[in-house]
C-alpha cells in the first residue's frame, strides 16, 4: 500500500489509562482504527474491552469513580476535551451486549436519537426508520407493527432494533460490544452480512468474545489481555501460525481463554 492512498485514521487511542477508584484496569494502550475498516477487539472477560468502548464515547463519565488519562481522538480531535459530548455520541453508534429495547414503540425507538437532536419532520423520520430497520435486517419482520412496544420483541429482534437505533443518527463510527451473545447463530450471520455492507459507509469497531467472528469480519484485530495490548495487527498476522506473541497464538487456537 503506498503512502498516497493510505487510509485515514478515524479513531486514535493514545496511551489511554483507566482506573475505577484505586484499581487501574486499562494500563496505557495505544492503537488506531482506520476509516471504513472493521476493527476487531478480542480478549477474555474482564480484560477491559467494554470499558475501552465506553471511553471512546465518554459514557464512562456516568460511572462516578472512573478516572481516565491519555487521549482518545476521533477525526484527530481529542474527545476527552470535546465540549459537545452529545455531538460526539451521535457520531459514534454504540450497541450494548444485551439487547435493550427502550419501553417505547419500535418507531419511537429508532427515532429517539434524531428526535433528541431536534429532527421533527415526519417524512424524514419515516424514511429514516425504514432505512435503519432495513440496514439492520429487521424491516420485513416488523414493518406492519411499528407501533408495538420495542420491549415485546424477541431477544434477537431487540438486538437488531438496537443496531437500527445506533444507525439512526448516521454514526461515523459504529461500536458493537459482543452483539451476538444474546442471539441465535442464524441472526448473527445475518447481522454479520449487514456489518460488511455497512463498513463501506462507516468505521466499525467490533468487540467480540468470539475469536472466529473477528477472524471472519475484521481486517485488523487487537488482542487485549488484562488491560494491555498483547498484539494488534492485520488479521493475516494475528490469526496466522506465527503471530508476534505466543499468547495470541494460544488464545486464537483456543488453548486458553
Amino acid at each position: 500500500m503506498n503512502q498516497a492512498t493510505a487510509p485515514r485514521k478515524k479513531v486514535e487511542v493514545c496511551d489511554l489509562r483507566l482506573s475505577y477508584g484505586a484499581k487501574e484496569i486499562i494500563h496505557g494502550i495505544s492503537f488506531e482504527v482506520y476509516e471504513h475498516e472493521i476493527f476487531g477487539v478480542i480478549g477474555p472477560a474482564q480484560s477491559g474491552k467494554t470499558s475501552l468502548l465506553r471511553c471512546i464515547n465518554r459514557t464512562i463519565e456516568f460511572t462516578p469513580e472512573a478516572k481516565t488519562r491519555g487521549a482518545v481522538k476521533v477525526d484527530g480531535k481529542d474527545v476527552t476535551k470535546s465540549r459537545n459530548v452529545y455531538e460526539l455520541r451521535r457520531k459514534i453508534g454504540m450497541v450494548a451486549p444485551l439487547p435493550v429495547g427502550l419501553p417505547l414503540t419500535i418507531y419511537d425507538n429508532v427515532t429517539f436519537a434524531p428526535r433528541a437532536a431536534g429532527v421533527r419532520d415526519r417524512d424524514e423520520l419515516d424514511e429514516l426508520v425504514e432505512r435503519c430497520l432495513r440496514q439492520a435486517a429487521l424491516w420485513d419482520e416488523v414493518k406492519d407493527r411499528l407501533d408495538c412496544l420495542g420491549t415485546k420483541l424477541s431477544g434477537g429482534q431487540q438486538q437488531r432494533l438496537t443496531i437500527a437505533r445506533a444507525l439512526s443518527h448516521k454514526p461515523e463510527v459504529l461500536c458493537l460490544d459482543e452483539f451476538s451473545i444474546a442471539i441465535d447463530p442464524v441472526t448473527t450471520m445475518r447481522i454479520e452480512d449487514v456489518l460488511k455492507e455497512l463498513s463501506k459507509e462507516m468505521t466499525i469497531i467490533l468487540v467480540t468474545n468470539l475469536v472466529q467472528q473477528a477472524r471472519r469480519l475484521a481486517q485488523r484485530t487487537l488482542f487485549l489481555w488484562n488491560g494491555r495490548i498483547e498484539e494488534v495487527g492485520g488479521n493475516e498476522i494475528v490469526f496466522s501460525e506465527t503471530p508476534k506473541s505466543r499468547k495470541t497464538y494460544e488464545y486464537v487456537r483456543g488453548i486458553f481463554g
Binding site: 452529545y86 437532536a117 431536534g118 429532527v119
Partner: protein, 309 residues
C-alpha cells in the same frame, strides 16, 4: 457533505443551542429542589429556635426547666416552667407503647416475610397500609370514646384516659412502620442463608431465631427506632387519650401529659412573644432534637446494613 446533510446539520445545531439553554435552566431547577430539603430542615430549626431564643438565653433556668416537675405557665403569683413531668409523661407512654408494639410488630413482620403465602402477604400488606393511613386525630377520638369506657370497665379504674390508653393507641400507630421496615430488613437477609439452614434440616422456627434474627437484627433495630421516633413525636392521639394531667405516673393507669400535647394544648392561648409562648417553642426545640437523634441513629443503623452487604 451533501446538501441535505448540511441542511440537517444546521437544523440540528439551531435546535441544540436552544434546547441547551432550556436544559441548563431545568437542571439547575432540579438541583435547587434537591437542595431545598436541606434548606427546609435548617429553616425548621432556625424558625423554631428564633421564636424561642429570647427566653432561652435570657430568663430561663435550663436546669430548672429540665429537671423540675412544676408546670404552672399561667400562674399569677409564681410562674414555673418545669417540664420534668412532661418528659416523664412522653417517656412513659413511649416505653409502654414500644413494649406492646415491638413484639407484635416484629412478630407480624416475621409472619409476613417468612410464614405466609403470597396472596395472604399481599392482603396483609394492604391492611398494614390502611392501618398506617388512619389519621392520628381519629386514633385520639377512638381513645377518647371507645377505649376510655372500655378501660374503665375492664380494669376497674376511675379514669380511662391514661398512660395505658395512649400507649395502646401509639402501639397501633407505630406497628405498621415496624412491620414494613422490619419486613424489608428480613427480606434483605439473603435467601442462601435460609436455603443453607433448610438443607441442614432446620425448621422454619429454628431459621427464625438462629438465622434471621441475628442476620437481620440491625434492620429490626432500625424498625424499632423509627417506631420510637413516631411515638415520641405523636401529638393528637396522646393529647386526647392520656388524660392531660401534669403528673408523674405511679401506675400505668395514671393520667399524664406529654411534651407534644402541651404545645398543642397551650400554643393557642399563649400570647405571641410572651414567656409562655417562647417556652413552648423551646419545648419544640427539645422535641426536634430528640427525634433528630433517634432518626439519625436509625438511619446510621440502616446505612450500616447496606454497607455490609
Amino acid at each position: 457533505m451533501t446538501r441535505i446533510g448540511r441542511r440537517r446539520a444546521e437544523v440540528w445545531f439551531r435546535r441544540l443551542s436552544w434546547s441547551r439553554i432550556g436544559e441548563a435552566v431545568i437542571e439547575n431547577l432540579i438541583r435547587l429542589c434537591g437542595i431545598s430539603a436541606v434548606l427546609f430542615v435548617f429553616g425548621i430549626f432556625l424558625f423554631v429556635f428564633r421564636e424561642g431564643a429570647g427566653f432561652l438565653f435570657d430568663g430561663l433556668d435550663i436546669e430548672k426547666f429540665l429537671f423540675t416537675t412544676e408546670w404552672y405557665p399561667t400562674s399569677r403569683s409564681n410562674v414555673r416552667y418545669g417540664v420534668g413531668a412532661l418528659i416523664v409523661g412522653t417517656f412513659s407512654v413511649t416505653v409502654l407503647a414500644m413494649a406492646i408494639a415491638v413484639p407484635f410488630g416484629l412478630g407480624a413482620a416475621i409472619f409476613v416475610s417468612e410464614f405466609c403465602g403470597k396472596k395472604l402477604r399481599e392482603a396483609l400488606k394492604i391492611v398494614i397500609e390502611l392501618l398506617a393511613a388512619i389519621p392520628s386525630v381519629v386514633w385520639g377520638f377512638i381513645g377518647l370514646s371507645v377505649m376510655n369506657p372500655l378501660i374503665q370497665k375492664v380494669f376497674n379504674v376511675p379514669i380511662g384516659l391514661n398512660v395505658f390508653n395512649g400507649a395502646i393507641l401509639l402501639a397501633l400507630m407505630s406497628v405498621p412502620i415496624m412491620v414494613s421496615i422490619g419486613e424489608d430488613a428480613l427480606k434483605a437477609v439473603p435467601d442462601a442463608y435460609r436455603e443453607a439452614a433448610l438443607a441442614l434440616g432446620a425448621t422454619r422456627w429454628q431459621i427464625v431465631y438462629r438465622v434471621l434474627l441475628p442476620a437481620g437484627k440491625n434492620g429490626l433495630l432500625a424498625a424499632v427506632l423509627l417506631g420510637v421516633g413516631r411515638a415520641v413525636g405523636e401529638t393528637m392521639a396522646v393529647l386526647m387519650a392520656t388524660g392531660h394531667a401534669v403528673n408523674i405516673p405511679r401506675t400505668i393507669f395514671d393520667p399524664v401529659r406529654t411534651l407534644t400535647a402541651t404545645i398543642a394544648a397551650e400554643l393557642g392561648e399563649a400570647p405571641v412573644g410572651s414567656d409562655h409562648y417562647q417556652v413552648l417553642f423551646i419545648i419544640g426545640i427539645l422535641l426536634f432534637s430528640i427525634t433528630f437523634a433517634v432518626n439519625l441513629t436509625a438511619d446510621l443503623v440502616v446505612k450500616g446494613i447496606r454497607k455490609k452487604q
